[in-house]
């Protein structure tokens, strides 16, 4: 084997490429899946919720917070919470993007979110300091605000914002708390550039609006989300007096459904890529087989000699199978190493932390060994059939 380096290298090449791409695929695929999950979780919060937005479902997937049609009212949200037993609670959101926030001479233009008191729980957010909006604040239309982690340093630099008064538009609000950072959403944009205020205050004192941007309904049993979605749909259609033939004037999004869609798309892509890698491996196997056949015919003398000093057909068979699978395994190991390097490269290009899926090491090694075995069997069998008398004749 080591005596014909070029040939050995060529034998390994196909396996190397196949295994390398499989390794990259595996790790990058897993990496992307995890990152997508994380970003979705960042945006949606918990997974036992259904998101209800006004307007027919034209924007699929991502939640649009601009150009909100005035279809979804406070009453609707209240009805959902009270009349549908599957709904544990609802969180409300009213928002605006075009209002400046000021503290002394500093200003920022974050998103202003009017939210209900249970927003923090349903989103799975956490406070960095202070308190969140309380039910009393909602009741009393309190002028209190909770800052997103980007906004606090923008307005206050290193000062403690708690208890300070900021102006949202022209209305003064007292800072009650600061959120922890959420990181990036699915689009890559920051989710920390926002100010939260009580939804009632937002509606009556700031936006002067009685419709909502979004209602998040938390379900008692996320497994039975289909039934809950059907009931929510029925209730809202009835409340909005929608004729049986007409389309909904609202859209329901289940994070679970979106996640399923995203991960499925990922898996289709990776299935295709795995198919390509499999073809590369197959070609690699065919190369191993043909080069092994050449090697067998070149080494007839060696085979004859080994047979003459006592090698059984089996010994010859095993020797050649072993050589094929050894070369193939070695190619696989190099492929994994290259794949590791490739994974790092791809991760760097995607600005993601590199994840190496260690399980793939086991099965790629097994795969490359198996490939050598399978494609080595026929050449090895041919080697075992070599007639020592003919092979040794000069």
């Amino acid at each position: 084997m080591s005596r014909n380096r070029l040939r050995t290298f060529l034998m390994m090449l196909g396996v190397m490429i196949g295994i390398c791409s499989l390794t990259i695929l595996d790790s990058v695929g897993e990496n992307t899946r995890r990152e997508t999950m994380k970003r979705f979780k960042n945006m949606i919060g918990t997974f036992d919720t259904v998101i209800i937005r006004p307007g027919a479902g034209k924007t699929r997937g991502m939640v649009s917070l601009t150009n909100v049609p005035p279809a979804l009212k406070f009453d609707d949200a209240q009805a959902l919470a009270q009349e549908i037993p599957e709904v544990r609670q609802v969180a409300l959101l009213q928002n605006a993007f075009d209002i400046d926030v000021k503290y002394k001479d500093r200003s920022a233009s974050p998103a202003i979110f009017g939210v209900s008191a249970n927003w923090l729980d349903l989103r799975g957010d956490e406070l960095a300091s202070g308190d969140f909006i309380s039910p009393d604040d909602i009741q009393s239309l309190a002028r209190v605000a909770v800052l997103g982690s980007n906004v606090a340093p923008e307005l206050f630099a290193s000062d403690d914002p708690l208890g300070k008064t900021i102006r949202i538009g022209d209305v003064p609000f007292q800072v009650k708390g600061v959120l922890q950072s959420r990181g990036a959403g699915p689009g890559g944009a920051s989710l920390d550039d926002l100010v939260l205020i009580p939804v009632t205050t937002a509606s009556k004192r700031l936006f002067n609006r009685d419709f909502l941007t979004m209602v998040i309904a938390q379900l008692r049993d996320p497994v039975k989300s289909e039934a809950a979605i059907a009931k929510i749909t029925a209730l809202l259609r009835q409340r909005h007096h929608i004729a049986a033939s007409a389309l909904d004037d609202f859209t329901l999004t289940s994070p679970q459904a979106v996640m399923a869609q995203v991960t499925q798309m990922g898996s289709i892509l990776s299935t295709i890529l795995k198919g390509i890698a499999a073809i590369a491996m197959f070609i690699g196997g065919a190369v191993i087989m043909s080069l092994m056949l050449i090697s067998v015919s070149e080494r007839r003398k060696e085979i004859g000699l080994r047979r003459s000093v006592g090698a059984r057909r089996r010994d010859i068979l095993l020797q050649f199978i072993l050589e094929a699978s050894l070369v193939s395994t070695f190619g696989g190991v190099i492929g994994v190493a290259l794949g590791l390097a490739g994974t790092n490269l791809v991760a760097r290009m995607q600005h993601l932390p590199p994840i190496f899926v260690w399980q793939s090491l086991e099965w790629t090694t097994a795969l490359s060994t198996g490939l050598g075995l399978v494609f080595g069997i026929y050449p090895a069998w041919r080697a075992a059939q070599v007639d020592p008398v003919k092979a040794l004749r000069t």
Partner: protein
């Protein structure tokens, strides 16, 4: 030791016509004999040696080695006999290329009775006077040296029977004499040596010769005394 009875070997030519390489051959060889098989090329000598060496099966007749009837043996059984009982020496040496002399000598140990033992292989090389060449590749050795490496290889599993197919055919007379000296020594130690040749000088080392012509054994005779080793 060797008992051959009415042995025939028929080959098929490529066009299907049968050719007899051996016709109805019978002879015996006693343990410790030094026998040459002689005759013109194509007379069947090599076919006989291949059958004696368990590399080939006879078409008919029987071959007994140490009382064992081998004609019906399986590949596994014949391989065992080749590994344990027989040492082969070829005209073209058949050393593995790009492999050291030492590694060449070790090959039969892979398939033979013991384990691969580097010291033993080294000792075998020293026996044939090539201890200093152990780490040379076959291509770096002269023809005579290569053949002596091959003899060391044939001896490594300590077989009682040595089969040599024109071992001096590719060598000049000086190198050939040295190789023959080594083979005679093996005979002196009590091994049975069967040697195919058409060289009279080589045949002179043996005690007995059988002559082939056209696939038939035509003569089986004692030769004048074995060649004295001292004369080398």
């Amino acid at each position: 030791m060797i008992e051959v009875t009415r042995l025939s070997k028929i080959y098929q030519r490529d066009d299907g016509t049968p050719v007899a390489a051996l016709k109805d051959i019978s002879f015996t060889v006693e343990k410790g004999e030094f026998l040459t098989i002689r005759g013109p090329s194509g007379s069947g000598k090599s076919s006989l040696l291949n059958i004696l060496g368990c590399l080939d099966n006879p078409t008919s007749g029987t071959y007994r080695l140490n009382g064992e009837e081998l004609s019906a043996y399986s590949d596994k059984q014949l391989s065992y006999i080749r590994a344990w009982k027989i040492g082969f020496v070829f005209q073209s040496f058949n050393l593995m290329p790009r492999t050291t002399a030492l590694e060449n000598v070790e090959i039969p140990m892979i398939y033979g009775p013991g384990r691969v033992d580097r010291k033993k292989a080294f000792a075998a090389l020293e026996r044939v006077g090539l201890g200093g060449r152990a780490y040379h590749f076959g291509t770096e050795l002269s023809g005579g040296e290569q053949q002596r490496v091959a003899i060391a290889r044939a001896l490594i599993n300590d077989p009682p029977l040595i089969l040599a197919d024109e071992p001096t055919g590719n060598l000049d007379s000086a190198a050939g004499a040295k190789v023959m000296g080594t083979l005679s020594q093996l005979h002196q130690e009590g091994r049975t040596v069967v040697l195919v040749t058409h060289d009279d000088a080589v045949a002179a080392y043996a005690e007995r010769e059988i002559l082939f012509k056209d696939a038939v054994l035509v003569c089986d005779r004692k030769t004048s005394v074995g060649h004295p080793v001292a004369a080398l």
